[in-house]
């Protein structure tokens, strides 16, 4: 029995796992080859980047990193701080607001539920560019233009319906017996949400957090539209200027800053992925 459980959970002995390692490493290398090229290019002088195919630089130059970091005022330290604040607030907003909304949709019967669920889905079906002008109008009238508000307040109002839908799907995989037995024990809906649904929803919440972080962090267009240079510039906006159709062609700096811009998102992913897949002991609660 112990042996079997061991086998099923896939914890094979190290001596047998090397073919899998080999296979995975080959896959990973193919997957990340373009990124290796980018990493190599970030150490090359500008004149070599577009003319050489070999990702390995013939000599290492750190100047792309140093010059790129200071390429504009106030500099990338500030852009990273701005980007992280926006992405961090957006994560909090989405996790809180979307889980509340999802709980209501997944576990309650109320009037117009189907219609509201439909409206929620329809709200994400219109392409972003068509909404840009009317949205700008709204945020301008609210006096939010040139502040971070348009970039994170909507998340606290659960406008990212994808995540509501994601959480609805996850809540629905949780057996209803859990709520019901808690209800019999005298828990109200708020208690059930906070002490049963929210903890059990952890994989979906972490998923939402990761995606929100990465998508918000990379959301070039909204940041360009709603923020203004110099103080509130963000990483993607600052990067897009490095290679510019009106003349500037600092490819080395672009690649160097791209490498650095991946660091926060990569760290966020590396740290949180284990929480997604740690799983939740649903059985223990029953």
């Amino acid at each position: 029995m112990v042996n079997l459980a061991h086998r099923i959970s896939g914890r094979s002995t190290e001596s047998r796992s090397w073919p899998r390692h080999l296979f995975l490493i080959v896959c990973v290398l193919v997957m990340i080859y373009p990124l290796l090229w980018m990493l190599g290019g970030s150490f090359k002088p500008n004149t070599d980047i577009l003319s050489q195919l070999n990702p390995w630089p013939s000599s290492f130059h750190l100047s792309n990193y140093i010059d790129g970091w200071k390429s504009s005022t106030p500099g990338f330290t500030r852009y990273f701080v701005n980007s992280l604040i926006i992405a961090g607030l957006a994560v909090v907003g989405n996790v809180v607001a979307c889980s509340m909304t999802a709980y209501a949709f997944a576990r309650f019967q109320f009037r117009f539920r189907r219609i509201l669920f439909g409206v929620m889905l329809v709200s994400i079906m219109l392409p972003a560019h068509a909404l840009l002008i009317p949205q700008y109008f709204v945020y301008f009238k609210l006096g939010w233009v040139n502040t971070f508000l348009p970039l994170f307040v909507p998340k606290f109002l659960a406008t990212d319906a994808f995540f509501i839908f994601l959480m609805v799907q996850f809540i629905r995989t949780l057996p209803r017996d859990l709520d019901e037995s808690a209800e019999i024990d005298g828990c109200g809906p708020v208690r059930i949400f906070l002490s049963i649904i929210f903890p059990l929803l952890r994989p979906a919440l972490i998923t939402t957090a990761i995606f929100t972080f990465i998508w918000t962090y990379n959301d070039f267009l909204s940041q360009l539209i709603y923020l203004s240079y110099p103080g509130s510039q963000t990483v993607p906006v600052a990067m897009s200027g490095l290679v510019d159709s009106s003349g500037g062609a600092a490819y080395g700096q672009l690649l160097a800053m791209s490498v650095l811009s991946l660091v926060p998102t990569f760290v966020v992913f590396l740290v949180s992925q284990r929480h997604i897949v740690q799983g939740v002991a649903t059985t223990g609660l029953r």
Partner: protein, 329 residues
Amino acid sequence: MASLSSEVTTGRHLARKTAKPSGHSVRSRRARTKAVPYLFLLPWFAGLILLTLGPLIGSLGLSFTNFNLLNAPKFIGLSNYRTMFTDDPRFLQALKVTFIYVVLTVPLQLALALGVALLLNRYIRGLGWYRSAFYLPSLFAGSVAVAVVWRQLFDTNGVVNKLLSLVGIHGAGWISNPRYSLYTIILLHLWQFGSPMVIFLAGIKQVPAELLEAAGVDGAGTVRRFFSITLPLITPVLFFNVVLQTIQAFQAFTPAFIVSNGTGGPSDSTLFYTLYLYQEGFTFFKMGYASAMAWVLLLIIAVFTAANFFFARFWVFYPDERSGGRSRG
């Protein structure tokens, strides 16, 4: 939205509820807390009214106008919609490109993501790093750097052609030849399969380990365990991914924009629907027409999503609507 009804299951659920011995007390409590769902919906509702609905209706309004972004919009009735279907070959080309893209990327990416998720679900040393490495390409969305890298790979003199020439094949200009350009963008999208992979990983982890163990005791092999336990139990997540990926594929903009430099070229071979919409709206100052295009796309997506929900009732399995508790082996 009638087809959304599989999502919203009322009858079956309530029938089960009343059958329970404790049904009465649960129902009376439910009556007392009738306001509760609305309380939970409050932030979303505020967002809908204040931020979402206005722009949505605004863009619908603009779709009946001639609007150059700078002057007040002029009402022209259905004229934009008529032009689209009767007098705009680029619109039809954009539809064609987008349909090919959706039909190819959605199933391929989901298969890839599910396959890798299963591979990375079993314990192996350095698992976190492997997962992160596979997710790495998805970390950068529309960065200019991706365009630079992609061109270095698929250029006439790029890495791919250098490799092909080793085996004696004279490769084409993959990005620049209208025959292949769309497929390199599809490849770019497949390369970034991280998001559905993560959702699958999360879904697979919701599958109770003791069910798999029990099946293992009964002698079911890995493949049987997958098809008879894991797959049915992750259908809600699979369904979510299908719906999400379909919607996102129809709205795909960034890959085409960065690879073709916003042109949709060569020869309109990568003119995605939203890219054309963007050109009309912002490059050519025809925001009325772009808005009309947006609403046609909304209708197309809504039909596909409704169909997805309709067919979901035949294959998506929700543990919360099963009658009786989960069997314990």
